[in-house]
Symmetry: D3
Subunit: 247 residues, 6 copies
Amino acid sequence: MPSYRRRDGRACDQTREIKIQRGFTNAPGSVLISSGDTVALCTASVVDDAPDWMKRDGNVPTRGWITAEYRMLPGSTKQRKPRQDRPDGRATEIQRLIGRSLRAVLDAEALGPRTIYLDCDVLQADGGTRTLCVSGACVALIDAINSIRASLPNPDVYPLRDSVSAVSVGIVEGSPMLDLCYVEDSAAEVDMNVVATGKGRFVEIQGTGEEHSFDDEQLAALLALAKKGTARVAALQREVLADAWPF
Amino acid sequence: MPSYRRRDGRACDQTREIKIQRGFTNAPGSVLISSGDTVALCTASVVDDAPDWMKRDGNVPTRGWITAEYRMLPGSTKQRKPRQDRPDGRATEIQRLIGRSLRAVLDAEALGPRTIYLDCDVLQADGGTRTLCVSGACVALIDAINSIRASLPNPDVYPLRDSVSAVSVGIVEGSPMLDLCYVEDSAAEVDMNVVATGKGRFVEIQGTGEEHSFDDEQLAALLALAKKGTARVAALQREVLADAWPF
Amino acid sequence: MPSYRRRDGRACDQTREIKIQRGFTNAPGSVLISSGDTVALCTASVVDDAPDWMKRDGNVPTRGWITAEYRMLPGSTKQRKPRQDRPDGRATEIQRLIGRSLRAVLDAEALGPRTIYLDCDVLQADGGTRTLCVSGACVALIDAINSIRASLPNPDVYPLRDSVSAVSVGIVEGSPMLDLCYVEDSAAEVDMNVVATGKGRFVEIQGTGEEHSFDDEQLAALLALAKKGTARVAALQREVLADAWPF
Amino acid sequence: MPSYRRRDGRACDQTREIKIQRGFTNAPGSVLISSGDTVALCTASVVDDAPDWMKRDGNVPTRGWITAEYRMLPGSTKQRKPRQDRPDGRATEIQRLIGRSLRAVLDAEALGPRTIYLDCDVLQADGGTRTLCVSGACVALIDAINSIRASLPNPDVYPLRDSVSAVSVGIVEGSPMLDLCYVEDSAAEVDMNVVATGKGRFVEIQGTGEEHSFDDEQLAALLALAKKGTARVAALQREVLADAWPF
Amino acid sequence: MPSYRRRDGRACDQTREIKIQRGFTNAPGSVLISSGDTVALCTASVVDDAPDWMKRDGNVPTRGWITAEYRMLPGSTKQRKPRQDRPDGRATEIQRLIGRSLRAVLDAEALGPRTIYLDCDVLQADGGTRTLCVSGACVALIDAINSIRASLPNPDVYPLRDSVSAVSVGIVEGSPMLDLCYVEDSAAEVDMNVVATGKGRFVEIQGTGEEHSFDDEQLAALLALAKKGTARVAALQREVLADAWPF
Amino acid sequence: MPSYRRRDGRACDQTREIKIQRGFTNAPGSVLISSGDTVALCTASVVDDAPDWMKRDGNVPTRGWITAEYRMLPGSTKQRKPRQDRPDGRATEIQRLIGRSLRAVLDAEALGPRTIYLDCDVLQADGGTRTLCVSGACVALIDAINSIRASLPNPDVYPLRDSVSAVSVGIVEGSPMLDLCYVEDSAAEVDMNVVATGKGRFVEIQGTGEEHSFDDEQLAALLALAKKGTARVAALQREVLADAWPF
């Protein structure tokens, strides 16, 4: 069925080459992650305080929080992307997705009253930056949590219940395919981002018809590709974390 | 299976009472829409000019554009919600969803070089405001387009290919259910917003595990409820538009 | 003397039809008020805390405060009015007028340390929005205060000393007239907004020559019309509040 | 009747000592004006272009415009006033008043397509800054217009029809009085700012009950004081402008 | 060597006429300072509280702070300079320089937990505004400190160790010269601002090649001029402060 | 004389290990530069248009421009640095320094009407970020200019007259030293940043006494260290650019 030929010769159910480098800088978690020409730096910083909104009305928080920020560096795109005063609509949407995805596997009580910031800065953009950042942020987050393991409220309860990984899928010229690069993404009729846990359960599904709509059969094909892709990233995360793997 | 008893006695696959009032004010499209205690005013205004970004580099646009803005009025919530003149993260996400949903059925060429603004102001909030606004904005949009029908580029091509309607679904205490009110929404383990065309095709699926994840079976149950709900709203849109119905 | 013929056939000392609907939404005070084609939603919300500026330097406030916000919804005007990042000069001026007008009859001690927000959102604009909002906000304020009557510091002292109502007057083509619609307002040589108490005393007089000046005689004629108009609105306020009337 | 004794021994119908110094800096109009301890620098700058809003849709303006900006320097008050680069509500209201007051006597056609900016910076504040700025800005404006007289569209038509001057009046401890200093202003039950033309016609009347209301008799007393005060300032303006007086 | 003839006939090592007027307004320190046609008002205000950043984490400050703000009034330049929402890059740089320069001679402990604001507003600009403001702010600061002398922590320790003065120097058409006016500054190949203590030690050196570079010999010539100029200003500061001189 | 022992055992006139990696991402110029633990990504992007301010009043520019932006990523410091989308005072000062330094060697006519953006994002901060960014941006700039060499106005005129490099120097515990790390910088009595051309001429000298002042002898010692340091960096720049070296 998939009649579309990908520019880089990939099969429709194949991701680009994904690389994950831990410890890129000295932050508690610091991960340089790439999928083909898309490259992001994901750092995880620990602030030993719950966020202000947890402390209103004299409340003394016992739970923690994870929040994310996402930006594209100006030099990350072919045409320089002007730096923005504050996150634009797209960046706002993406950083909310990243934070929500990681909080879905968080045991907030086990983290204790602290805030972990996931800063995802895209160094080079070629499609799929948001899902790549979810996957990279998860590795940075695990490194950061491991770095404070001694000071967690309960040494026997790890503050994450599972890892998460994410991929983009889409329909291009009628063919469902996995891990779209920028050119494919621009041409896609349907665009979907899927976040899943290491055990393969859904955390987030965001599917959008771009000036198109889609039916049940197409949805099923996309979800199947997404499951394959998130599983592949999850395996790589586990591999690069090796004996730091907490689950 | 659904063991959860809804506060208002509704069945799990039942929406609240939905009312749509056209011509609430004098704007080309002006719709007061409510589902239970959630009430929104959706107006559609026509600006006879394409957006600036279409005109860069001396480009003379022939196509049109639809854009949306979403806000909650300060008095719309029990605790007064401080006025946010500039959309916060949530409002940004929602207004992007509304605009994207309606553009999915737009024939931009047939609209001609003009911009239609969909302003969705929530007057009273009790859950499901974003999907209610998609549904109300669609009716306002049709009224607005009908008001300029004489000046469209091609009288034989209507600028929309179909209507769109939207509902929220979610899993509360393990039970999938349709059109969540605020109390249900706050307790939901999974929250999903679905936008569909009048013909029943998907335009947008946004499913999120709220500190939870979900599996294929749960996803299927939610999508089935969403199909039922969007079809019900679509029928009501058709009914209130009556002989103004363009399709 | 008045040679000017009004478009809608009104006499110079006649207001448009004024309607006041209480309980439009669930906020403690929620009033839909209209004068002809000008329509505004005025809600009153109670926050059980004095404003921050009363609490500086460890001060524990015993008095309350009333503040107002005013906006025009984008769809309220023929040409869509772009939503603004923050109130523009005109909106700032108007919301300060609304707050000041209601505070003029406030017994701050009798309200206790709480803040009442008067949110005035113009749904449709055809002249006289600011004075209509003062009149509508007064009704919403009374409903809101009545809703917290049991928790006032002193059950025997009502926190308002009187009601307030407001009208616009102006000189168009040399003729003084009452309650100007947009077309009249645009053509007015002198424009005046007057706020008065239920007992008929002045609270605020703002008269402006629009590229014109005016003399004592013209001022007298305008004030006479304003007294007539504010009395008429005051009577209507009393009527719609009926047994909720506190004075 | 006036039982109140003024701190500085002034009669109730007496202004403080008013000084006007032209040419304080090199701007086309540059006036240092003071009334007692209130001191402001009013400069008038000419920009040889109509404002942008006059040029929309390819319009070629033939008329001019006057606009004003008002700020208090941080060191102008006893307690340092934090710098507000963007005007707060009060400054917005005041600068709109200043601009409107001078535009009331403007012959926009006779000015030609240019913009005159009136920048009013309060160097020391002791009550009555807004009316002092109107009076000072008028002198700066005349100096600025005189400096471009050779390039006006029509040498025989002066772009102002008259001068304007302004004073504050108010009721303190029941007594109407003229030109309130800060201490009097803070205690005033009614506060009124009046702008008049050199010929004595009203341009603007802004009267406000500060937690009080007022009746016709009090209004009449205030207006009488205001007429006396504006006439006195008008005479001084004429005196300092001497042979530069255009009317 | 200096072949360049200055427009105003000055020698290359000569400043313009410098005037310092203390007590221009009622602020604790209020200095009108001018060098030729450059005129600035420098006020010093005392806030009896350390800045917020000193009080974080429950810290109780014993030391004080000096901070500066710098703006050019809109009428200070030939072409009106639009007022800005917040300090632009240049103003930010300058106000940081002013604050840093005065803090270099501050004994923070001896000042006690208070903040002195130095507000430097340029009334007329003809080159050298930033260095003139440093010199003027120093005089205002001494007046302000003298006004609170009775309430300093230790009456025997003056909170400043020395005065500071500043001048601009530059190379124009190959000639090093002192105190550049605007026309010279615009043409300068090298531009340098030097701040020195009353005893002649350097506090700050900021030298910049404007599309040019410079060598050791040129640097030496500029520094020699700067020493001469700062000494001259320091002498004048001492003279105008006379018996208020604290050192 | 230098009694201070550096933590990392360096001699006082020794820089940390400096590494320059070209082509880190696909931008026309993309340089990862580090000095010890300070790491920055400097990209150079070419926009084929002169900046807007060159085009005012219908001007058709023939010259080009270089501008710079500087930020520290949130994860670059031990304590996470809250993201500042809009540059704070320090970042403003630094990005102005970077742009000015490179423009000092620019032949604007030879660049033609285009703008080169130098984006300097600090990935890890351990002192000396601003000077490292100047040095890295110079390499990125040369790579970017080489990438458009074919389309320069005149193939025989290279748009840069020389390279630039920069180092920080300072006085710590009385000892002048080169290339301060964060701990040394925090303790420095005098802090100086020096930018020089490849030929060794000064482009910028910014020396600041941090709560201290300094004399001629100290200045001379600092300048000598700076000359040594900038020459060392210049040699490295030449080496990494090798046959891409344009001078």
